[in-house]
């Protein structure tokens, strides 16, 4: 259970479990996060779990790195720890036409048919390693190895909100229109981030996601329901 403690200035302590995208590492990161959140030591401002580390932001007026490192060391050694809770989300995804501008190219690059790409993507249950880049942007993995591709050589200036994308071993959904370099193989009509909601981001780190193919007509009707705040994404509790 060896971890590395690294300072990112005098307000952030990085607890690093490793340097890979790896489910076992992610599990340890999310566990420590859950322990800290269940009973935050004095001076901790917030925590951010990532693929392989937990960054603990703190207030040096109230605590210090030395004190936090000692406390976190104790928390890491505890045997009885709260298990983080998580949900499995069933996300409607349209993999057709204008919603999937890069599907043909991905098929060509991977040597698969578009149908095989969709079957592989929608047949995988993904783990949400972390949220970042934009509010509510989930980094999910792992893709079946047949779908692994580097990022696009020429990033797009505008990726539409709701785009479902793949790159390296990961898949993601763009919550907002933004520049982006991943391959766009589909789109979802659901709203990923809404500051008016009690939980503004739909997903939390540690949740699971499965995509359910829908046709453009279903996309349009779900989109209308979402706009009327009359749609709830199907989900169920799961273990991380």
């Amino acid at each position: 259970m060896k971890v590395r403690f690294l300072s990112a200035g005098d307000r952030a302590l990085v607890v690093e479990f490793g340097d890979r995208v790896d489910r076992a590492l992610s599990k340890r990161v999310l566990r420590l996060d859950a322990v800290i959140r269940s009973n935050p030591p004095i001076g901790i401002v917030e925590t951010v779990p990532t693929f392989r580390s937990l960054t603990v932001y703190y207030d040096p007026l109230l605590t210090s790195r030395a004190e936090l490192q000692r406390l976190i060391g104790v928390l890491l050694d505890l045997e009885e720890r709260p298990r983080p809770s998580a949900r499995l989300w069933h996300v409607p995804a349209c993999y057709e036409g204008e919603f999937a501008p890069d599907l043909e190219e991905v098929a060509r690059l991977t040597g698969l048919t578009p149908g095989e790409v969709v079957a592989l993507h929608s047949g995988t249950r993904f783990h949400i390693y972390m949220l970042g880049f934009l509010p509510g942007f989930p980094y999910m993995g792992d893709l079946p190895p047949q779908l692994a591709l580097p990022r696009r050589a020429d990033p797009r200036l505008r990726v539409p909100a709701g785009s479902i994308s793949i790159a390296t071993s990961l898949t993601a959904i763009y919550p907002y229109e933004s520049p982006g370099g991943w391959h766009l193989i589909g789109a979802t009509p659901i709203r990923m981030f809404d500051p008016e909601r009690l939980e503004p981001a739909l997903f939390s780190p540690g949740d699971a996601v499965a995509f359910q193919p829908i046709d453009p007509a279903a996309f349009a009707s779900i989109r209308r329901a979402v706009e009327n705040r009359n749609y709830e994404v199907e989900s169920a509790p799961v273990a991380i």
């Binding site: 952030a12 693929f51 040096p60 949220l131 970042g132």
Partner: protein, 343 residues
């Protein structure tokens, strides 16, 4: 019409900011908030507000605002900045003191040559809704502030009260300007990804603020910082002040609106006591870094906080008509000598 401050000209980038949106970085929401939090807090203290209230952050060039409420008490902070007031009694009020203005008066905010940012607080605060606990504007996701964006002409910045309280104006004593303006950093978290020469260059060379600077970050011109172990790391979380170095070798200092996570190594991180200095640097300004130990950085954070508390405790009543007559000001060439802003 809504009572408030009517925007006649917006300035380059004027936004509503407070001390930031705390507790949502885990879902990808940047902290945002004032680039110079001491400037914001002092402006609020002068206006008679709690220090963390929302105020206007003014970058590079200032707005022109008309008082569209009965009376409003304003306080501007920022080294060398000033309010010029048009109306029945034209006058200039230097940054670092409060002033009460009447309906119809027009203020133009000018920044001095020493600082790229200043803060305008209004007694009672700015009446915009808090989004995720903060009024700070984050333009990329249209969160907070006035409709999630920078001020535009014809906006009205809504104010919480329509009439200033009856009391003396306050001013801040001029603090000494430190001679050495080097910016202190703590090495890491990924300094081991860099060659020895890159670490030496970071601490020995002079850098300049490039034209690619905004509230997310400041790209620096200067020597390229070369990596030793590749520049693509598995993404991790980022801290304000961290100096990330992409493949080009050109460093970027992360500021208040930075993304929560990123995949480039961070060679060093500016200590929190010196973050306000970064926000004040202008295009082309030079920058030198010196490294301190982490324990020193934590102690400096406590020290500047103590000094700031003392400064706020030492706010003093301003003379009843402390506005300078414009003729006198030019006649005595006082403009460059006015340094009542907090430094």
């Amino acid at each position: 019409m809504t009572p408030g401050l009517k925007v006649l000209a917006s300035g380059l980038h004027t936004t509503v900011q407070d001390l930031g949106r705390i507790g949502y970085q885990n879902i990808g929401v940047p902290v945002s908030g004032a680039l110079d939090n001491f400037g914001l807090r002092l402006a609020n203290a002068l206006a008679g507000n709690p220090q963390g209230m929302a105020a206007l952050e003014i970058l590079v060039s200032g707005p022109t605002l008309e008082i569209a409420t009965d009376t409003a008490r304003l306080a501007l902070t920022g080294t060398g900045a000033s309010l010029s007031i048009r109306g029945e009694t034209p006058r200039i009020v230097a940054a670092g003191q409060s002033v009460t203005l009447r309906r119809g008066e027009i203020i133009q905010i000018a920044l001095g040559p020493q600082s790229a940012c200043c803060y305008l607080a209004v007694e009672g605060g700015i009446a915009v809704p808090r989004v995720l606990g903060s009024a700070s504007t984050y333009v990329r996701a249209a969160l907070g502030g006035l409709n999630g964006r920078a001020l535009q002409r014809d906006d009205v910045v809504p104010l919480a009260i329509t009439c200033a309280s009856e009391r003396a104006e306050l001013r801040a004593p001029s603090p000494p300007v430190p001679a050495d303006q080097s910016i202190r950093v703590v090495l890491g978290p990924q300094h081991k990804y860099f060659r020895k020469e890159a670490l030496a260059a970071l601490l020995d060379a002079e850098f300049r603020v490039s034209k690619d600077a905004d509230r997310m970050g400041m790209r620096l011109d200067g020597p390229l910082l070369r990596h030793r172990r590749g520049w693509d790391i598995v993404s991790d979380a980022m801290a304000t002040g961290s100096i990330q170095v992409p493949g080009s070798g050109q460093p970027i200092v992360l500021l208040a609106d930075h993304q929560t996570t990123g995949g480039y190594p961070k060679i060093a991180t500016v200590i929190s006591a010196d973050l306000p200095l970064l926000g004040r640097r202008r295009l082309g300004d030079s920058l030198r870094f010196i490294s301190v130990e982490l324990e020193t950085a934590e102690e400096l954070c406590r020290k500047v906080e103590r000094e700031f508390t003392e400064l706020v405790a030492a706010l003093e009543p301003a003379p009843s008509d402390s506005g300078l007559d414009i003729g006198t000001l030019y006649g005595e060439n006082l403009i460059s000598g006015v340094t009542t802003g907090f430094e």
